[in-house]
């Protein structure tokens, strides 16, 4: 009975852990304890003291600060080890329950070392300033700040302290939650904002005015990695009376990675991208507003999820947008966007998706609906990528109540895409559930140089279903003599 209780406890603890792979280590500990109890004379030898202080501090850096501090009671050597840890993880339960004096002790221990990273998930506004100021004084390099949702907007919103903007040691800044982003006027200060910042991630913050984001970004001299999510609720502080657009001006010459999600932004905005060093561009949103992108000569990979195609010049806007991306080597496209392209092409649109002459890898991902006809959409895009070598699908099939299929009559029937005859060697379908066999069938039929078709089954399928699909696929005719089909 006691053993069952212990095992159950170990299991719940394991489930609660942040790092799930260590499930088995918990079981090992249980068996060790059991062994210890059985041979009480046998002393478990000291396994840890041979490690130097810096190693022990490194181990403690993976624990929430609360647990790291607990170790100070282990032995006299461990008393101050936690102060050597260069990372502070102050989570909600810790910050909720401790006194101010204790927080001071944690932030400023007797011999404060340089703090590399501060992560706080803070429900108490009063603590945010204190933690951030302490971190800046200790030369922090990475700040990860999460501020939870509160009910009273104007009383509870925390303006990000000005000292953060001018911190010389900060390299990574991650902001999530209801901070008010009000960058100081850079013209009035002599030093530049964020002088060392390379990575910036912002989501669910409030913007003080229409230019909050556009004054911030060009001011960062070293910025390389920018990930922003903007939604309507972030603009609650803006003066909605004035007919101003919210400006997202990404004019950053050093930027290499840009992830932009404005899919929940209905308020009109202006997006301008001019990033000559950009290598990776992930865009999720619609192009209805004022969108300009230019100067992307080094772009290598792009992920696109463009929705809301129900306005007249969608195809023209998409064509212009994709035109800047036409030299990329690798692309991921939401299947819905491909489907919308098909719809617009069939309705006699004058505009065509540009040719992607250097594209060697293409992936279609996302949820797709039963009434769509993915093969036509895929084929249309394949025609624009003559040198494609690798094709990947990661699609979730969504059935709907009315199971009809809409057959889009194209302007003219599609030729067999050139890449299928000459370049496509690998095709991988991840999470295959047996729907839309047509994709697999057509690729096997049309590709002349295909070497590998790999099907990874959706984990929901049972083995009977997998066998049925396996048999069916093996019967499909293959044009390529060297084609191997692999199932996972």
């Amino acid at each position: 009975m006691k053993r069952q209780r212990k095992l159950r406890k170990a299991k719940t603890h394991a489930e609660n852990q942040r790092f799930r792979p260590w499930l088995c280590l918990a079981w090992q500990i249980e068996s060790m304890k059991k062994q210890g109890r059985e041979t009480e004379e046998e002393q478990i030898s000291d396994i840890i003291s041979s490690l130097p202080d810096c190693m022990l501090a490194h181990i403690l850096s993976f624990l929430p600060t609360k647990h790291a501090i607990l170790t100070s009671i282990l032995s006299s050597r461990w008393r101050v080890l936690w102060t050597l840890v260069p990372v502070l993880h102050l989570d909600k339960p810790t910050l909720d329950s401790i006194r101010t004096s204790t927080l001071n002790y944690i932030l400023f221990p007797r011999n404060p070392s340089t703090l590399c990273k501060l992560c706080i998930d803070c429900p108490r506004r009063s603590f945010v300033d204190k933690c951030v100021q302490a971190a800046i004084l200790r030369g922090v390099q990475e700040l990860d700040l999460v501020l939870d949702l509160v009910l009273d907007l104007h009383n509870q919103t925390k303006e990000l302290p000005a000292s953060v903007f001018f911190c010389t040691t900060l390299v990574v800044l991650k902001l999530r939650g209801h901070f008010l982003l009000n960058p100081p006027d850079s013209a009035s200060s002599s030093s530049s904002m964020f002088p060392s910042l390379k990575t910036l991630q912002i989501s669910h913050v409030y913007y003080a005015n229409h230019n909050s984001l556009s004054t911030l970004l060009p001011a960062c001299p070293l910025l390389q990695d920018l990930r922003i999510k903007v939604s309507d609720s972030d603009l609650d502080f803006l003066d909605k009376e004035a007919d101003n657009k919210f400006n997202i001006l990404v004019l950053v010459p050093t930027l290499k990675i840009l992830v932009l999600d404005c899919s929940f932004l209905r308020w009109s905005f202006k997006l301008h991208i001019n990033t000559p060093a950009l290598e990776y561009f992930h865009f999720k949103g619609d192009l209805n507003s004022d969108v300009v992108s230019e100067n992307l000569p080094n772009l290598f990979k792009s992920v696109l999820d463009v929705r809301n195609c129900y306005y007249l010049d969608w195809m023209w806007k998409l064509t212009n947008f994709m035109g800047l991306l036409c030299n990329i080597r690798s692309m991921e496209l939401w299947i819905g966007t491909a489907e919308y392209i098909l719809e617009h092409s069939s309705s006699n649109s004058h505009y065509d998706v540009p040719m992607f002459h250097n594209l060697s890898s293409l992936k279609f991902y996302g949820d797709f609906w039963a009434m769509w006809s993915p093969w036509n959409a895929v084929q249309l895009l394949l025609c624009r990528a003559p040198k494609l070598q690798t094709l990947t699908f990661e699609l979730n099939y969504r059935c709907c109540i009315r199971s009809f299929s809409v057959d889009f009559r194209l302007k003219k029937p599609l030729d067999v895409p050139e890449c299928l005859s000459s370049h496509l060697t690998t095709c991988h379908y991840k999470g295959f559930s047996g729907h839309v066999m047509e994709l697999v069938e057509q690729i096997l039929k049309e590709s002349k140089v295909l070497k590998t078709m790999k099907i990874t089954f959706n984990s929901d399928l049972d083995s009977k279903e997998k066998l049925r699909i396996h048999k069916k696929i093996m019967k499909f005719p293959r044009t390529s003599q060297t084609c191997q089909i692999a199932f996972d």
């Binding site: 260590w22 000291d46 170790t71 282990l74 006194r99 690798s330």
Partner: protein, 148 residues
């Protein structure tokens, strides 16, 4: 090269213009036992293989690595973890070092002091009353800790 210490050795050798051109070079690693070294080599090979298989997809790489790490931990005894940490540190193999340190950290996370002492094989060397004082001071950190 993942084993940065070994890479350093090769770079130094090249700088000294070794003309023998032998394909197998003996590299002295005085601070590493053979058993942890074998585990680290296997870990490294697996890591590189998984990375190559999922060149485009970072999420897939992480998922597969997690599965492999789970299997690996089943075979490793807690006593061996110290040796592995020291070996990974000497070889300057960051990923393995972080992995094994995380394993130790999660083994002691949210556990009582008595449990952690037993796990590490430590004995309390505080003077009388000193430990009680510390426990009082940090009473707030004991909330939510698993009972032994």
């Amino acid at each position: 090269m993942k084993f940065c210490a070994v890479k350093q050795y090769f770079d130094d050798e090249n700088n000294n213009n070794i003309t023998s051109g032998a394909s197998t070079t003996m590299i002295p690693l005085p601070n590493v036992e053979s058993h942890p070294l074998a585990i680290l080599i296997t870990y490294c090979k697996k890591h590189l293989k998984i990375k190559a298989n999922n060149a485009d997809n970072k999420k897939e790489t992480e998922k597969e690595m997690e599965q492999y790490e789970q299997e690996l931990l089943k075979k490793v005894m807690p006593q061996e973890l110290t040796e592995l940490i020291l070996a990974a540190n000497y070889l300057n193999f960051k990923e393995a070092l972080d992995f094994f340190c995380r394993a130790v950290a999660s083994a002691i996370q949210n556990k009582s002091i008595e449990f952690v002492r037993k796990f590490f094989g430590l004995e309390s060397d505080f003077e009388l009353g000193e430990e009680e004082k510390l426990r009082e001071e940090f009473a707030w950190s004991f909330e939510g800790v698993d009972e032994d």
